[in-house]
């Protein structure tokens, strides 16, 4: 069974997903970071595939993308690093990245490789739903990759329903209409949005992302969804870390504490 599906069957609340950029801060940090995320007790690992023009990301993740590229990271390199990841990581692994590098690699070849090394799902923020349905869904399904769409406070109820119909992993709720890392804390307006979506009783689990950084925001977000995603705040923690393993473990434990 797909690990994402498995996870949400057994754990329905306080699911913590951690995003980091592959090849950052150092090229060979990818696997050690994944290992530390797992041993600290998070539930999902989101591996960011770096891109030169990440339009949905704020300065923190942009910088990490650029540094990773400067370090020599590429999709090919990432697949080399992840080739034997299933010997050391058992959590669901999701790749998150922009469409262009993947299309250049070849969507079919990419998905095939993902299945081969044990990737469970994909988040491609600039893949629109219609293009997914027209061009890629069949390929994703064939390689048992779960696809996650984003929704924002601006997404209409009708479109949320459509997205829910066509999602098969989890739904990524962007908590403020914002790029990553732009907000901290959770406002009443956001809570109203969380409640509105909660009341829709969607089929798919919901993870809340953007603006989650600590135990307080994680707990609040988890009340209104099945859990939350931390990205920019995690990148900041590891940026200048001298001891990745210990810093990652203490940070994640402080969040899920």
């Amino acid at each position: 069974m797909n690990r994402i599906e498995n996870l949400f069957q057994t754990k329905k609340e306080q699911v913590l997903s951690i995003y980091f950029t592959a090849g950052f801060p150092k090229l060979e940090d990818t696997l050690p970071i994944m290992q530390a995320i797992e041993s600290a007790g998070a539930d999902i690992i989101e591996v960011g595939v770096p891109y030169s023009d990440p339009i949905a990301d704020g300065p923190t993740i942009q910088d990490s993308n650029q540094i990773a590229l400067d370090n020599g990271m590429s999709l090919k390199k990432l697949f080399e690093q992840l080739q034997d990841m299933r010997q050391i990581v058992s959590l669901p692994v999701v790749l998150m990245g922009y469409l262009n590098p993947i299309i250049q690699y070849g969507m079919e070849a990419f998905c095939k490789k993902c299945q081969e090394i044990g990737v469970d799902g994909l988040i491609l923020p600039d893949l629109p739903m219609q293009q997914y349905l027209d061009e890629f869904k069949e390929i994703f399904d064939r390689y048992d990759l779960r696809n996650t769409f984003l929704i924002s406070p601006q997404t209409s109820e009708k479109r949320i329903r459509e997205i829910d119909t066509h999602s098969n992993g989890f739904i990524y709720m962007v908590s403020a209409h914002s790029i990553t890392g732009a907000r901290t804390g959770i406002s009443e307006e956001q809570i109203a949005y969380f409640q509105r979506v909660e009341a829709m009783n969607l089929i798919n689990p919901r993870l809340i992302g953007f603006g989650i950084s600590d135990s307080e925001t994680f707990t609040t977000a988890s009340k209104y969804g099945n859990g939350a995603i931390i990205g920019s705040a995690f990148i900041k923690k590891i940026k200048d870390s001298q001891d990745l393993k210990s810093d990652i473990e203490s940070y994640i434990r402080s969040v899920i504490h």
Partner: protein
Amino acid sequence: MPKSQISNLTSHILNKMIKIDEKGFYGKFGGAYIPEMLHPNIEELRENYEQIMATPEFQKEFRGLLKDFVGRPTPLYFASRLSEKYGAKIYLKREDLCHTGAHKVNNTVGQIIMAKKLGKKRIIAETGAGQHGVATATVCALMGMDCTIYMGAVDIQRQRPNVERMKILGAKVVPATSGSQTLKDATNEAMRQWINNPVDTHYIIGSVVGPHPYPEMVARFQSVISEEIKWQLKEKEGTENPDIIIACVGGGSNAAGAFFHYYNVPQVRLVAAEAAGLGVTSGKSAATTVLGTSGILHGSKTLLMQTEDGQVVEPHSISAGLDYPGIGPVHAHLFDIGRAEFVAVEDEDAMKAGIQLSRTEGIIPAIETAHAIHALNLIEYSKDDIIVINLSGRGDKDLDTYIKWGGY
């Protein structure tokens, strides 16, 4: 003729027609590859822009401002000394005489009225050389709208006078400090800001790039250029159709405007002049059709300069307005089906062409435009062919570059 043959022929003709389809594609290129956060904005625009543009009210305001504020129609000027030199009948479409000094304002006038009709309160835009930024700041001042322009930090340094013009007009100029700190990064930054302010803000994209419906909407606003060429040439030469139209292409808005009404007139040759920079093989170039491959940039599928791994390559051109790693999807399509001829013009040749036009016709062109002038040396034509060059902008903004180059 058997029915199947007729339908083959029809589909062949349709395939050759330059027309956007219902999903926003020109052939293989276009579409709207955008983060979901932008979906409501793009959808709002897509659902409304054609209808708004078609209303008499919109047309009256748009046409009125083009006439009285921009100064249209711009002349179609017979360049007699240049014609003599090249042995052809060369006309210059004088977009350099538009208010603010280039064709860019045709689009910003259209989009600011569109933004008002959509109830937007704030305008954001990207700019490279600063021409689109100035044209946007100008119409925002005209309409009393709040205006923020994103501009690469490097471009802010090399286009100082335009930065000050925007500020004088009341716009806020925000530096984009990521990547190469030029047009591509300014566009990324403007898109991010749009994601952060989706409800009250309209993003005025300056070229025929970006997610559908922008490439088509911008082309339609710029199509006034070829609309005028048609009747002006009819008056002067008794025909609407020149033999050749030449325009420079960065993103490609002036070329789209100059080609628009001729897309489906096959006897009119369309020539697009790209920036070769220091040479197409030098690693310092912006000749997208030579160096680019199919990919996704700024929300559309198009030709773009990228690494094997799909990372966008930093372009180079002496002209900040052509310094872009992609081209508009419609131009990628024109290239793909062979409807337009693309030529690559090196920095040095463009600069010399700028001086040549200055001295033969008394017109100092923008360096972008100078690329189109040099294209005369790269294409084949017959004696007495009628050639229209779209003179997209004037050279005032480029004085520093001319001075630094110094070859005059």
